[in-house]
Amino acid sequence: MAKRLIYTPNRCVDCKSCEMACSFVHTQDITNPAMPRIWAFTFKRDIKAVSVCQQCEDAPCQKVCPTGALVRNPATGAIERTDACIICKSCTIACPYGNIHFDPIYEEIVKCDFCGGDPACVKVCPTRALVWAEEPAPAIKQDAEIETVLTEEEARYSANRCLDCGGCSECNQCVIACPADAISLNMHEEIQTQEVESVIISTGFTLFDAHLKQEYGYGRFPNVITAMQMDRLLAPTRPFNHVIRPSDGKRPDNIAYVLCTGSRDHTVNNPLCSRVCCMYSIKQSQLIMGSLPLADITIYYIDIRAFGKGYDEFYEQARGMGVYFVKGKVAKIEEAEDGNLKLFYENIEGDEGTQQAEHDLVVLSVGLLPNIEALTIFKEEQLEADLYGYVKEINENTNPGKTSIEGVFAAGSVTAAQDIPDSILHADAAAAQAAAFVETMRRMNK
């Protein structure tokens, strides 16, 4: 007799170890315990249970699958999803137990496959609520025990109604879990009409998409990340307690920063300097030195633009702390065998010409681009743009932030890449001019 996954509800303590083991085995991704193929629950306070595919004999999922992509593996008895799957999600609706799912992260249909005959969940179950053994009783015949929820036709109809609107299934678990009651699923878009005398646009910038700089391998090499990702790793509310690299969770000890990724670069159509990247990279390098004191950090740059108040002192401080600064634009990045990365660059300060260096994590200091959506905020009249797509300041010398539409002022990096101090000043200046404009108009209309 074939082995089956046997489950004893009163032994389960809802520890979710099975979920963790399952997602790890199937995704090979240490960071994503979100989509397992087995689920542990607590019902009504104290009834613990797991839900996992029954591998039904006359399986509704198999029946409904239009491409025959769900195939039973004769060795294990498990129904497995094959490459014929077109992700129509009909099976997810047909399953009466809700045990076959669409994973929005990996964009595939997932279900239990008994791990090829060696289920990972069983190995980690601390109470032996889950065991892998020959079933004593004959398998339950599906039709006799349960009622099919939908006919094939109904299932297909329902699948076609799906809007594929994202991962949320409105299960309300997040609402229940959030201790600050910060989540509401009942909010709706509301359109209000307000009459105002002046408008300030502060819709910010967009970030350069690092994929576009193909020679740096972002998206292809897991250990090439953007500085925004590094910022997340360093934040006080960071997901891990350490700076780790994506491919294997190792703590990096030789990190490279590639400045001007997407800035000062005609090949990606952005000749402008993004103003903020030098400083945020230097800031991160100092934070990493606190987090990983033994790590080497190298910053590859064209010019270090530490121009603001206290900035050059901050740069000198980083040099004093031992951050290496190499003048040279990185030409391309290649992956070495162990997930490390090889950087090709020209060391401009020395006479050694083109060189290679190996690092175990590369951070791309991505630049800022205009947010062109700002230009069309007003229906009647488009805001004038400068040559690069930023909102144009029509009299930048004496009226910073003043736009081509009277009474409309722009604040912050919607007019040009700006760092925080300059954005704040620019916003305050816009506020002053908007207030002055309103007062002037009121006086004139009196």
């Binding site: 201790p179 600050a180 103003r275 603001g308 050059d312 300060e349 010398n397 004496t398 305050d428 200046a429």
Partner: protein, 571 residues
């Protein structure tokens, strides 16, 4: 014992505190402190729902003392003060205990001792709140007038916008003419506007505004009063003194350009000029650039003169000079395309959109040579000709000798000599010598002197546009202050016990704000605090030999009770 009814609310901060401090244990222990009638824990005290629960406790148990043990008061002091006020409790009977920054985050490795420390901190907070008295803020009426000091491009722009807002402006400048350095700069980056014309336009607009009174040859000589309600004296031509009432003061006194010392990069030799001198030369040139009657063919620019000094004192970057020098090169090229230009730079800081003029200069033939701060170029005169020696980092450190007709020292900005004004306004100075803001990001134009704002290059090197931007930012802060009509001052100011005071003058001498005066009381002379001037700094308290002065909210008995709470042994 105490007859107070105190509520204590201890925050988990979603794990930020509770992961390292046994919050429930803290609650169990402090629950029995004298006066405590409610002691509860919350996941997030700052969350709306939890605040509402606290409000209900304050009202239902008629609390007259409140402790929230959560994060730093910098984050949520005002949140919980407002909550107390909503609940009908005097906000100054609320005490915040910092269990996060000063306890849980600092002692992540030792939960037991962190919990012990947390208990002591909360106890001290309870002890303090049980000795609080209801206090009220001091409300002052604001004067809808602003004093702007310095009539450069920043001061002129600020005055115009203030006038548009309907505020009266007194604009003063110690020079006989307005405009400052902008007048001397000719064509300016990034849009080639002419400095002189720009100032003329602004001055014309200022003259048309009846709200603005312009005083030239005038300095500020005296200031008293507090934010929203200053009395100032200005002196014109060194003799005529005028008294004015203003609600806010904006300081836009600008910068000076760095003057190289004799011999610094050859300064003093014929043909070695500073950037402002060069800009003046370009402004008067047509068809060719001539210096001392000779047509200039080769120009060498040396960047970072007076900025980013390796040995000197000016460690800061002057921000505008890279772009200004590159732009000057473009102007020179426009005048005479035959000129060869060599830029000896360290980092080309043509940030943001300035990058475009850098690229253009490079396309038009400017040669870029990078030197290291440790190996600066040398300027010599050989056979009556200037020769610049430099190690070019971009060519592997090769030593170059460049003959020059003109050497332009790209000089940076330095703080303006303004000792008198600094003394009158008590303005804070940063390490770089420029006026210092409270916070570069959050409060970039405010100073520790409430009601006194700084803007333009007085705060640090800036371009013209950036100067105007910061001037208008100061306008928005200053106008918000004076247009509100009133300002509430914190009640944590000094109070004098008239029975104990013997008027020895020591407190008056210790006060940096001139907030103590002598009055008669009950047949003797005693000290009295001028409430609108006192900042609660506390300099007067420890110097008083009679212990006759205390700061509201921080009385000696409160502090002693807090110490008792801290050192009390845990059962």
């Amino acid at each position: 014992m105490t007859d107070r009814k105190i509520g204590v609310f201890i925050c988990y901060c979603g794990g930020n505190i509770s992961d390292y401090v046994d919050v429930e244990k803290v609650r169990d222990v402090v629950e029995h402190e004298p006066g405590v009638v409610v002691a509860k824990t919350h996941m997030f005290c700052c969350a709306d729902a939890d605040q509402q629960e606290m409000v209900e406790h304050i009202q239902n148990e008629k609390l007259d003392g409140l402790v929230v043990a959560s994060c730093s008061p910098k984050l949520h002091l005002f949140t919980f003060r407002a909550m107390a006020e909503r609940a009908g409790l005097n906000p100054y009977q609320y005490v915040q205990v910092n269990l996060r920054e000063q306890c849980s985050w600092a002692h992540r490795d030792n939960m037991e001792n962190a919990t012990d420390k947390a208990i002591r901190l909360v106890r001290a907070g309870i002890a303090k709140t049980s000795l609080t008295e209801p206090l009220t803020t001091l409300r002052i009426k604001t004067t809808p007038k602003v004093l702007v000091i310095g009539a450069g491009v920043a001061g002129l722009s600020a005055s115009l916008t203030l006038a548009d807002m309907g505020l009266s402006v007194h604009l003063i400048d110690k020079a006989p003419e307005v405009g400052g350095w902008t007048r001397k700069y000719g064509k300016m980056f990034i849009n080639d506007r002419h400095g002189n014309k720009l100032i003329d336009t602004l001055l014309e607009q200022v003259k048309q505004k009846e709200e603005i009174t312009l005083f030239t040859n005038t300095e500020l000589v005296e200031k008293s009063g507090s934010m929203g309600d200053f009395s100032v004296k200005i002196q014109a031509n060194g003799k005529d003194t005028i008294s004015l009432e203003v609600g806010a003061i904006i300081v836009t006194t600008g910068f000076d350009t760095y003057t190289p010392t004799e011999g610094e990069f050859g300064y003093g030799q014929d043909g070695v000029v500073t950037l402002p001198e060069f800009k003046e030369l370009l402004d008067g040139s047509n068809g060719s650039v001539n210096y001392n009657g000779h047509r200039i063919k080769n120009i060498v620019y040396i960047y970072c003169v007076g900025s980013r000094q390796v040995d000197g004192e000016n460690k800061y970057c002057s921000r505008y000079c890279c772009s200004a020098a590159v732009h000057s090169a473009l102007c020179a090229c426009d005048i005479d395309t035959g000129i060869n230009q060599y830029h000896l730079y360290r980092d080309m800081r043509t940030y943001g959109k300035h990058e475009i003029i850098y690229e253009e200069a490079s396309k038009k033939g400017s040669v870029l040579i990078r030197f290291s701060g440790e190996e600066p170029p040398e300027v010599e005169t050989v056979d009556g000709k200037l020769l610049v020696k430099v190690n070019d980092q971009l060519a592997g450190g090769e030593e170059l000798e460049i003959p020059a007709d003109l050497v332009v020292l790209v000089t940076g900005m330095v703080p303006r000599e303004n000792q008198k004004l600094i003394e009158v306004l008590k303005l804070p100075i940063g390490l770089d010598g420029f006026f210092n803001e409270i916070h570069p990001k959050l409060r970039p134009v405010e100073t520790v002197i409430d009601g006194v704002f700084i803007a333009g290059t007085a705060q640090g090197p800036k371009t013209l546009t950036e100067s105007v931007t910061s001037a208008l930012a100061a306008v928005s802060k200053g106008a918000a202050l004076v247009k509100k009509g009133y300002v509430d001052l914190e009640p944590f100011i000094a109070r004098i016990d008239p029975q104990r005071c013997l008027w020895c003058e020591i407190c008056q001498k210790a006060c940096p704000y001139d907030a103590i005066e002598k009055v008669s009381f009950d047949g003797k002379e005693i000290a009295q605090v001028i409430k609108s001037l006192c900042k609660g700094g506390g300099a007067c308290v420890p110097v008083c030999p009679e212990e006759a002065i205390f700061i509201e909210g921080y009385t000696d008995i409160q502090v002693k009770a807090m110490i008792d709470g801290l050192i009390k042994e845990n059962a």
